[in-house]
Symmetry: C2
Subunit: 282 residues, 2 copies
């Protein structure tokens, strides 16, 4: 790759591509699980690719990390015990730990090398790794959820790569059943759920699999995410029973800064565009 | 270009790119103003490119056309006379004419060939061209606004290409002053205003130019737009005085279908993320 070349990522399932202008490659490691590459870009800071797929950029990861963390944490009535499956870059963990009520947040990513690369090239995402409430494991997330004490967890956040390769098992009913068992009755599962424009079928399939595992109510929240295919992404929350009561007053009174998330953004995201709402109803 | 090739569009100002998987090229014409190309894609329907820049796809143009038309039409108290500068694909005109109160909508695009290509490859966008209230001109939008009778227009919609080439003059104070003169006192100007992530400076500069022309209040609304750089786009409304009073009840009671726009989406878009709001305040 020559200086100021372009990195293009064609995404077969959507027939669309994204790309970034690159200054050069900073690092590459082949872990036991996947190839991790770090590039320096001209306008987006550093980029992390896993097996050739864009994972995050310095400039725009805040959309994703804020939206996978704060909506679910401001929906659960009093989240104390949080588990993050995947999330090895530690950006989700950092957002979770901004909530003072959280007593313990376990991050279980299968690949230690993702965290080592994040520490080096995205140090801002790792700034809460030393928090006494942070419990950072490098282990199999499937096994972790299977062995979790039943009814011990308030929130499970599945912050995974796409449903291929190491993350494939994180999108089926067997895994979701383990999440359901680990969660308390009022617990909430949240998972990154791909593009609400081009991958609506995947969101529907995910909800079906969650349904087989005992989840009965769902809420999908869209948000912009330039470094993912179509630039528009989503998270989906699931509960075993009951609806999603947004703690709006607490969100308005939050004592920490965010760049994208606000109570109003949260409320806005709950109102799906008709073409998404209709597809998810069908 | 071979079948099932990829068309990539690197966008220099943002250092990011988009792309689509292509079945083949359907048409190409060099008008007196620009080169217009039509491609058939595998997943996005037809694509129109002008001078190499993606203008619209069959699949995702509804975001843009709905968001440049309905928010301003549901903000003006009683829009009867609408002028569209640019908009040669006729998709904005179609959305405007869904409002029964509109008595006349003039579309003035410099390039007849854009409309001819739209008629052939995006016929659904042209389905209201025969409406008795539609007034379709192919002429210089700058001259049209300069010669408009003062105080005769309720809404001016600037549905232009990027601020280079033929559209460059549509982003400066001289043009905006002509818009201000043509508008009634309670009239509203709305313009596509590029990416609120990567092109925030452009939105700020546009507001400065609008301010020089006598506009005093502004409202920028973001929305997803996968076929434009970063996948996140915006429109900016401007008024000579007063705020933006959303006719929410009318929007909720609208008698026509939309795929993205709703009253709730409109309300959501009015709440800017902190990083955008802060930048526009600065």
């Amino acid at each position: 790759m020559t200086p100021n070349d372009w990195h293009y990522e064609p995404f077969e399932p959507t027939g669309s591509a994204i790309g970034f202008r690159i200054k050069g490659k900073l690092d590459e490691v082949q872990s036991p699980f996947q190839k991790i590459e770090i590039y320096e870009s001209t306008d987006w800071g550093n980029l992390m690719l896993i097996d050739g797929a864009m994972m995050l950029t310095t400039r725009d990861n805040f959309f994703y990390h804020e939206m996978i963390a704060h909506p679910v944490l401001f929906t659960h009535p009093a989240p104390k015990r949080v588990v993050i499956i995947g999330g090895g870059d530690c950006g989700t963990l950092r957002e979770v730990l901004k909530h003072p009520g959280v007593e313990k947040a376990t991050q279980c990513d299968i690949d230690e090398q993702v965290t080592r690369m994040a520490e080096k090239y995205f140090p801002e995402l790792c700034e809460s790794n030393g928090d006494a409430r942070a419990d950072i494991l490098w282990d199999d997330g499937l096994a972790y959820m299977k062995n979790c004490e039943p009814g011990s967890v308030d929130i499970v956040i599945v912050d995974s790569t796409d449903p291929v390769g190491p993350a494939e098992g994180l999108f089926n009913a067997a895994f979701f059943a383990d999440c359901a068992r680990a969660l308390k009755d009022d617990g909430i599962l949240v998972q990154q759920s791909e593009s609400p424009l081009a991958l609506l079928d995947l969101i529907k399939e995910m909800r079906v699999e969650m349904g087989k595992a005992g989840f009965t109510t769902f809420e999908t929240l869209p948000f912009p995410q330039p470094c993912y295919p179509t630039g528009w992404w989503s998270v989906t929350m699931a509960r075993k029973s009951g609806g999603f009561d947004f703690r709006e007053a607490d969100a308005r009174a939050k004592a920490f800064d965010t760049r994208y998330y606000t109570a109003d953004i949260h409320i806005g995201a709950r109102h799906l565009p008709p073409f998404v709402a209709d597809a998810l109803k069908a």
